[in-house]
């Protein structure tokens, strides 16, 4: 008997598109999933090779409260004893509390791993882990980008559509439109080399320098949320769960602690360099080359090395 709790992934679907972390949640649940939202059949296709057993519910009303109630009913009808894992994408985060309430279960939000007897939750902006003991079925949200996806070749996929009706009510919050990522976002998302800057860089001006160094290395510039909050870079430059998900081959991190919300948007770079004064922070642990130094000074030195000295 497997000691890890039996899991089902509940994944909200928008127009047939799986959210960030959707496939990872399905992997975490060993291929068992409930897809709920609009145009589920298309989403089922994109889960092929990861999902083994899929339930779907087409929902007419996509508000989180209604989705939560419908998903709870779907679980009661399909796998009522299974614990639930929801991707901690924006739509997943919206849904999970309502689902937990409708099922009458505890919510463990921001999990990075679900183990036999505990759920490990990212806390303090991703710099710490809180292990929480598990007693009975629960609902957890799983941080996208932290586990990867198990692709299993030649699996058969069992698909069971469920039909659950929900009362339609008027709403005070209405979705007007979904805007696609804009050009500058795409630029970063597809960049093969990224130079990133975080709170270890001390001023607005450093990011102009960072952009220059990035350009001379043929790389794009990315930042952490701390930097966008300070207004030193636009949100399109932010890497992570709530920013852009990137997948470069090379990542150079200046003064970045490596909080899970940041690194989960990082893909799987083949090479990581980290410059940080704290040798023990997660970004340094992840790096192939970890340099303990003042990132500001290293940046200055690097700018000096890479920009050709103009003849005087």
């Amino acid at each position: 008997m497997n000691a890890v709790p039996a899991l089902i992934a509940v994944v909200p679907v928008r127009d047939g598109i799986l959210p960030a972390g959707g496939l990872e949640s399905i992997s975490e649940a060993r291929g068992i999933a409930l897809l709920i939202g609009s145009d589920c059949p298309a989403a089922v296709e994109s889960a092929r090779g990861v999902a083994r057993r899929v339930f779907t519910v087409e929902a007419t009303d996509q508000s989180p409260a209604i989705l939560g109630r419908v998903a709870a009913e779907a679980i009661r009808r399909s796998l009522p004893d299974h614990s639930v894992v929801v991707p901690a994408s924006p739509d997943g985060r919206d849904l999970a509390p309502h689902l937990a309430l409708a099922l009458g279960r505890p919510l463990h939000s921001g999990a990075i791993e679900i183990r036999a007897d505990e759920v490990r939750l990212a806390r303090q902006g991703g710099l710490a882990i809180a292990p929480v003991r598990v007693e009975g079925p629960f609902v957890a949200t799983l941080q996208p980008g932290i586990r990867g996806v198990d692709f299993v070749a030649d699996t058969t996929l069992e698909h069971a559509p469920l039909s659950i009706s929900a009362p339609t009510t008027g709403h005070s919050v209405v979705s007007v439109e979904v805007r696609p990522p804009d050009a500058s976002t795409m630029d970063l998302a597809e960049a093969p080399r990224i130079v990133g800057g975080g709170a270890g860089l001390d001023s607005d001006a450093r990011f102009a320098m960072l952009a220059e160094v990035a350009a001379s290395l043929d790389a794009s510039m990315g930042v952490t949320r701390v930097i966008t909050d300070r207004g030193w870079a636009t949100h399109e430059r932010q890497i992570g769960t709530t920013g852009v998900v990137v997948d470069p081959r090379l990542y150079i991190a200046f003064g970045i602690s490596g909080a899970v919300q940041h690194t989960s948007g990082l893909g799987q770079p083949a090479h990581i360099i980290s410059v940080n004064t704290d040798p023990h922070c997660p970004m340094m642990q992840m790096a192939d080359l970890a340099i303990v130094a003042d990132a500001n000074e290293v940046l200055v030195a690097l700018a000096h090395e890479v920009t050709p000295v103009s003849p005087s």
């Binding site: 998302a189 130094a293 890479v306």
Partner: protein
């Protein structure tokens, strides 16, 4: 009435309140609550679930222009659901409830959704851009979706809204209000059956990730692909260097790995 939920965070524990405060997100929420109330000619209720130190957040809110403040007394560590339930009882008459996106310590971002569920009203969470119309009856909000997509929402009735820290800059409180807020009265109510669970924290370590299966049909090639150190280096080299040496070391590594010639 407009309500705002403020979470008091004490990063150095109760004994040292010097660095305690509310998050940038909660400051934005307070500012937006004040703006909505100004547009509507309405009152602002500031609520916190927390220890006595949290009253400073409420006094700051009063100094900035909140009309009323309530503290639901408890120690830190109450669950999101319990917190939201307590908040709901306090703000159930509010038309708009403003929250921060994430609290700085627990950071589950689940209180606002639980609050909307308890109040039985709609939610708009993780907002990054807010426009309030002239009389405060309509709010246009932009929300972050994944992959750089954005969702534009229209809010026309009762709702719980949560905002990121960069959405609005909290105004400076007038001096006289700061001084009088020191003596302002704050309603304190007990929290029944607090379910405090102070989980021990351990340092964050990245979880081992699943690598995509190698594509080759040949077993030997697959093994090679998985074990080839050139493709998947796994050992961290940590060096302490002076800035100039560090810069050179970075360029050397980039050359070794074939990024520079």
């Amino acid at each position: 009435m407009i309500a705002v939920c403020l979470k008091w965070v004490q990063p150095h524990g109760a004994a040292d309140d010097r660095f305690a405060g509310i998050s940038a997100a909660d400051q934005s929420a307070l500012e937006l609550a004040l703006r909505t109330a100004e547009a509507r000619g309405d009152e602002v209720l500031a609520v916190t679930v927390g220890p006595v130190g949290a009253e400073r957040a409420l006094r700051d809110a009063l100094a900035c222009g909140a009309t009323r403040a309530v503290r639901i007394a408890t120690e830190p560590g109450v669950s999101s659901l319990r917190t939201a339930t307590a908040l709901a009882a306090e703000v159930d008459a509010a038309d708009v409830v403003w929250c921060g996106d994430y609290s700085a310590d627990r950071g589950s971002g689940s209180v606002p959704a639980f609050l909307a569920a308890r109040l039985g009203i709609d939610q708009a969470l993780g907002l990054i851009d807010i426009e309030i119309n002239g009389n405060g009856s309509h709010i246009r909000a932009v929300r972050r979706l994944d992959g750089g997509r954005r969702e534009v929402l229209s809010v026309t009735g009762r709702a719980v809204l949560s905002v990121e820290g960069s959405t609005a800059r909290l105004r400076r409180a007038p001096l006289r209000s700061v001084i009088t807020a020191d003596a302002a009265s704050i309603t304190v109510r007990p929290l029944e059956s607090p379910d405090i669970s102070a989980a021990d924290l351990v340092p964050y370590r990245p979880r081992a990730r699943v690598l995509p299966a190698p594509a080759s049909a040949n077993a030997l090639d697959r093994v090679r692909a998985l074990t080839d150190t050139g493709a998947a280096p796994s050992r961290t080299e940590t060096v302490v260097l002076e800035p100039a040496a560090a810069a050179r070391r970075i360029l050397d590594a980039l050359r070794d790995w074939g990024y520079l010639t």
